[in-house]
């Protein structure tokens, strides 16, 4: 499955909603369905009618019994369009074997009675399973959505019968009053003409309702597979992964972009120029010119040819012309710095030139390897003997304090020596948020690093509060609670504490958390 190609939006739907998904598919692609359906009905009529020309009602019964074959055409179309493939009449004929390969006989005989026929039809037709594998798979699917599939089948019967009756009623209603045509009440003695009429009504009713039943079942099937295999998740993940990869590429290409940026030049002009250069060789494909593209082309030509759009740029470059009087070393230096690079002449390729270039490349690679190797060796030496150099060793710890919780830095190094004093200064400066943030994260830092409170990096304020309650005596715990509440009110409700309230917190802080001063 390639989610990018999906013709529907996978979600975890309820069963009944997924039936409606199938119906929506049918609404959008009804033309393709109608084509295949019409062909199949014509084929059936052509096969059946010669034998039952004297009793058309029997052919209606046979067509009704052969519905599972008609269903396969509908399902073929819907399954193709769902995965972004075309589903014309020719595709149907071309895939004739694939459509009929598995389970057709069973479908027309004993599976004809299955109350969840349209739900499990894809298992045989699309997944191509038979025998035990088919039954296992069908059971997995019907474990959920089976009830809805049964209701769907019942709806199929009800809709077909209602439409059949409705069609008869419509014909009767169209008859002028006093007409001798009686649609109802002639079921005891049916004339041949009346039987033909019933056959036509029956086919109309089936045409209107049978695709609905198949589409609903297919919707259930798609939804069940989405649940089982997480199609919606795969789609979301692929999008996310594509975004992340794009982000990395952008990041990598940033320096090179900057390097390629042109010198400050008149505004607007470079972009127009670039467009001209890029677009100029492309001309609309064969066929009538579309007015929009033509206008675009005309504008481009104007930009390129009209002198008033011409853009000339004067670039001054400092170059060095040797005069012959300077000392030798200065000359060499200036040559190396400013000498114009002679464009390499595409000289006739001689074998010696080739060899020279080849050796140069080998030498360059050798240099890189040598220098890189020495550097790596030095780095390894430093790493190997780092304890003699006094560098920190990796500490094996069962639990490592997280550097930040809920986005707040709680490393001890990040704190000022006198926390309440620093907070007071911030508060007086009108930065109540920073002041409280400092108090709060300093309290957390003290708890984590001095009192040995263990909290995970994903902890919320509520989690911290709970952990602190288990770790502290009543007094400090209530201080921490007051601090947390004040901080939350400020952070999430933008409610600045009063001067007195803040002062109380600052006074309680060293008592509760034993701040270093």
């Amino acid at each position: 499955m390639k989610p990018g190609m999906l013709g529907f939006v996978p979600r975890t739907r309820t069963a009944m909603e997924s039936v409606d998904l199938g119906l929506s598919l049918l609404q959008v692609h009804w033309r393709e369905v109608a084509g295949v359906w019409g062909l199949q009905v014509l084929v059936l009529l052509g096969l059946v009618l010669p034998f039952f020309a004297r009793a058309p009602l029997w052919s209606l019964l046979i067509i009704w019994w052969l519905k599972p074959w008609l269903d396969r055409g509908v399902l073929f179309v819907l399954s193709r369009v769902v995965f972004g493939q075309s589903a014309s009449l020719w595709d149907f004929l071309g895939d004739w074997r694939g459509v009929h390969r598995t389970g057709l006989v069973a479908g027309l005989l004993w599976r004809r009675f299955s109350p969840m026929r349209s739900y499990v039809l894809p298992v045989a037709q699309l997944e191509g399973l038979r025998g035990g594998a088919y039954h296992t798979r069908a059971r997995t699917l019907t474990r959920q959505g089976g009830g809805a599939a049964f209701l769907l089948t019942c709806s199929g019967w009800v809709f077909t019968i209602l439409t059949f009756i409705g069609f008869l009623a419509l014909v009767q209603g169209m008859m002028p009053p006093g007409s001798r045509v009686q649609v109802w009440g002639r079921f005891q003695s049916m004339t041949l003409g009346y039987q033909w009429f019933l056959l036509a009504s029956g086919i109309v009713a089936l045409t209107l309702t049978e695709p609905l039943f198949v589409a609903g079942g297919f919707g259930l099937y798609l939804n069940r597979r989405t649940h089982l295999e997480g199609w919606d998740l795969e789609l979301a993940f692929r999008r996310l992964a594509a975004r992340l990869v794009l982000f990395v590429i952008l990041l990598l290409s940033m320096p090179s972009l900057r390097a390629q940026q042109p010198q400050p030049a008149p505004a607007d002009e470079p972009s127009a120029k670039v467009e001209v250069e890029e677009q100029a060789p492309t001309y609309p494909p064969e066929g009538p010119l579309r007015p929009l593209e033509e206008a675009g082309l005309r504008a481009q030509r104007l930009l390129k040819e009209d002198p008033s759009f011409k853009h000339t740029e004067e670039v001054r470059v400092l170059t060095y012309e040797p005069s012959g009087r300077e000392p030798k070393w200065l000359r060499r230096l200036l040559d190396a710095l400013f000498a114009k690079k002679e464009p390499i002449q595409p000289s006739e390729t001689k074998s010696s030139d080739f060899l020279k270039v080849f050796w140069d490349i080998i030498a360059l690679i050798g240099k890189i390897l040598l220098v890189g190797g020495i550097l790596a060796f030095v780095l390894w030496l430093v790493y190997r003997f780092r304890h003699r150099l006094g560098l920190p060793m990796a500490v094996e710890a069962s639990w490592e304090a997280p550097p930040a919780v809920a986005g707040l830095d709680i490393r001890l190094e990040s704190l000022p020596p006198d926390v309440p004093a620093a907070a007071r200064i911030l508060f007086v400066q009108g930065e109540a948020r920073s002041a409280l943030a400092l108090l709060y994260r300093a309290a957390l830092a003290e708890l984590v690093h001095r009192k040995g409170m263990e909290i995970p990096i994903s902890a919320t304020e509520g989690d911290c509060l709970r952990a602190a309650g288990e770790h502290l005596e009543a007094g400090p715990a209530s201080t921490f609670q007051a601090l947390t509440r004040t901080w939350q009110r400020l952070a999430y409700k933008d409610e600045v504490p009063s001067r007195e309230g803040f002062e109380t917190l600052c006074e309680a802080w060293p008592v509760a958390f034993g701040g270093r001063s």
Partner: protein, 228 residues
């Protein structure tokens, strides 16, 4: 080709986005069926009671039948938040097409126009109209400007697998976060091979593949959800 969806998003004047999921003919048939069963049960019991009143009872019963057939849906739709008993059973709700709750006028219109939808005798017009409109509206719905939608299912706090929380390397959008949370919630019901396959898609983010990547991804979900 635009991908087909059952969700229609509309924006209210307040700038709130509503996700509506119009309900099709199959589920509405059963809602109608349940409603009719209820109405006829009530009518039957009423008939037993009214039988003692003789001809007066018969007259009263006919009045009751008229009211039950025409005003039962109107009353329940307006007083029951857009839900008759059958719709409640099947998780449906009638609302205005712009998402507002339905009032007396529209409800009366859509239910009186059952006469038209019932033509030519067995709801054929209604069925065809439902199939021809993208939002599954019968003639009565079109006239009253109403929709029948699937109700939002209630949302529960997710139950996530117990793993070590792993902080996220990059900021994620709300949708991406909810996809990861939903993955973690559903992962026990996916086969483990499929779960790892899905986690592998995000290996640029988790930096690991296979069961290791799965563990990291579940840890990220745990981190997103917060808590211990």
């Amino acid at each position: 080709m635009k991908a087909i969806d059952t969700v229609r998003t509309i924006e209210t004047p307040e700038g709130v986005e509503l996700n509506l999921r119009p309900a099709g003919p199959v589920v509405r048939l059963w809602a109608l069926f349940v409603d009719q069963v209820i109405v006829w049960m009530v009518l039957m019991f009423a008939a037993f009671g009214l039988a003692f009143l003789g001809p007066l009872g018969l007259g009263l019963w006919f009045i009751l039948m008229f009211l039950a057939q025409w005003l039962y849906p109107v009353f329940f739709e307006v007083m029951g938040g857009g839900r008759t008993l059958g719709k409640r059973w099947l998780g449906l709700r009638v609302i205005m097409a712009d998402g507002r709750p339905i009032g007396w006028g529209p409800s009366l219109i859509r239910n009186l126009l059952r006469v038209v939808d019932g033509l030519p005798g067995a709801y054929t017009v209604g069925l065809v109209s439902l199939l021809l409109t993208r939002n599954f509206q019968r003639i009565g719905d079109l006239a009253a400007g109403t929709l029948v939608v699937h109700e939002q299912s209630s949302v529960f706090a997710p139950v996530l697998p117990e793993v070590e929380p792993v902080p996220l390397a990059q900021p994620l959008t709300l949708e991406e976060q909810s996809a990861i949370l939903s993955f973690a919630e559903r992962s026990p019901r996916l086969t483990s091979a499929r779960a790892e396959e899905l986690a592998d898609v995000l290996s640029p983010m988790t930096g690991a593949r296979g069961s290791e990547g799965l563990k990291v991804l579940l840890g990220m979900a745990r981190y997103l959800w917060g808590g211990q």
